[in-house]
Amino acid sequence: MGVTRRTFIRTFTTGLALGATGALTGCAASMRGDFMPKAGKRVVVIGGGWGGATAAKYVRLGDPSIDVVMLEPNKQFISCPFSNLVLSGLRSLDSLTMGYDGLRKQGVKIVHAEAGAIEPDTKRVRVGEGYLQYDRLIVSPGIEFQWEQVEGLPAAKDRVLHAWKAGPQTVELAKQIQSMADGGVFVLTVPPIAYRCPPGPYERICQVAWYLKQNKPKSKVIVLDANQNIVSKTALFRAAWQAYPNIEYRPSSKIVKVDVGTREVATEIGDKVKYDVLNLIPPQRAGSIAVQSDLVGVDKRWCEVDHVTYESAKAKDVHVIGDSTIGLPVPKSGNIANAMGKISASAVVALLNGRPAPQMPPGNTCYSWVSDREAIAVVNSYRIASGKVVQIEQKLTPAQAVSVAQNAVGWAQSIWADVLS
């Protein structure tokens, strides 16, 4: 990290005043006032996930004279793609956990803290008791859960696992599945669209069903899907499930209530289902900072953006990317967030240098593991027509295959590097 003299003095004196020592990052006590004064052009990035980390890197690549500060509370990046394989015991969470040193080598300054508020009028992001000044802001906050949509969930949200943000919950859910008795019932609930990773729940069903088939042959998976049908790769998942008679799929079964005492969930149409292990994936909206800073639309859930620059429809010089956006005909996927990171970065670099933003469409590649060794994929490409992203084509792999799984591994290695190094 290139520490300017001014930054150093400021940090040093702030540190002295507060009795804190040294580290700027992760030290809430030093975040008072303008704690990293801006010298030249600066881009602040909120969120170090697939979108934000990519954007931070590509702004630096596009114009190394731009100061980039990324706000991310977590010290490490954990990949959601491939995390369903942790549930079947095929991968460890460690193998999906990566550091941010690659971004630091690109000159990205990382502050491990949460953004408190966005102030577009003064071009400030509130952090702790201080603020960061920006010329342009890229917001990539991911998703947050709408706990209140399910009765009984707000009070039990620490015990009812979503495992929909890869991390400790993923490991905990894997443990619960492993320690479930043979004959136990695993219930998974799929939220109504739009939600993060449309095929994700169905891949998870494959992985859990595969694990149970091998290890607990008397157990079953009951799927309560709020949607009318499998929402992604429908025919390929249907074909894959032929190998898993232990799956009981119930469409149009939106969850409205959970009772952790009786270990029971209730659907909108009044069905009650007992569980031994529950994986309740709640309905979702844009990450909290986007809602609190009023970047969301009338639905109060998702953020509308310009399809070329990703500038917010609601706030000038504020760009929103990744899962929290709506209105583009793209899925909420890591690959799309990565694409939006690159495109928004090139737009921001162009605009800060007085040039028009290049008109670049995103692309999407999405693999799903349907067993321990076979995968399927969907690929979407897009064009920009009259300023809007429209699809050129969607293609599915003809069938599940080992070769597709090999490509999935190749994709993961390449895209993790594209995001982080």
Partner: protein, 198 residues
Amino acid sequence: MSRRLLMCAGFAIGVSVAAPAAAGPLDHPGYPKAFSCSACHGFAGNSRSDAMPILAGQHAGYLKKALQDYAGGKRPSAEMEPYAKMAIELGVDDVASYFASQTRMPTASAIDRAAAERGKAASAVCAACHGPTGKGDAAKDMPDLTGQPVGFLKNQLLLFKADKRSPGDAALMQPKAIIKGLPDDTLADLAAYYASQR
């Protein structure tokens, strides 16, 4: 494909130590047009995975042909067909010359030296088209195989053998006939040999 682009491709391959001094990867008009490619093929087309081919330093004419074959369904790939159509809409010459002008970083995947030695001995039959070390031929759109990932090369050879890559392509009938006559172990050796070449 213009003569200048082909020369540019040749230059990038000829000079393996340093990138052309005039420009970095970001100065090329193909740079933003290739944004989608890096998710699988790595930054500047230097894939670090065993499954995905390295596009950096590949002959521009070959890259253009590959994209056109994918887009037209001649070379079947669910993953590549939509992206090839996108690259063609954005400007296939820009995308191809962007990757051709990048310096190739040879594969990071492990290479079995003994297999590479056996592959060298078996490679004479490939040399007529791909050259003695697999550098290919820009003028004939013959791809550069050197430093490509072992897994990728082996997979392509198996696809050729099963006639699943570009089925019915008359220009590929002869190499496919040669490959069909080779055992899978020899194909793995050939993959190791070309991956080991610089």
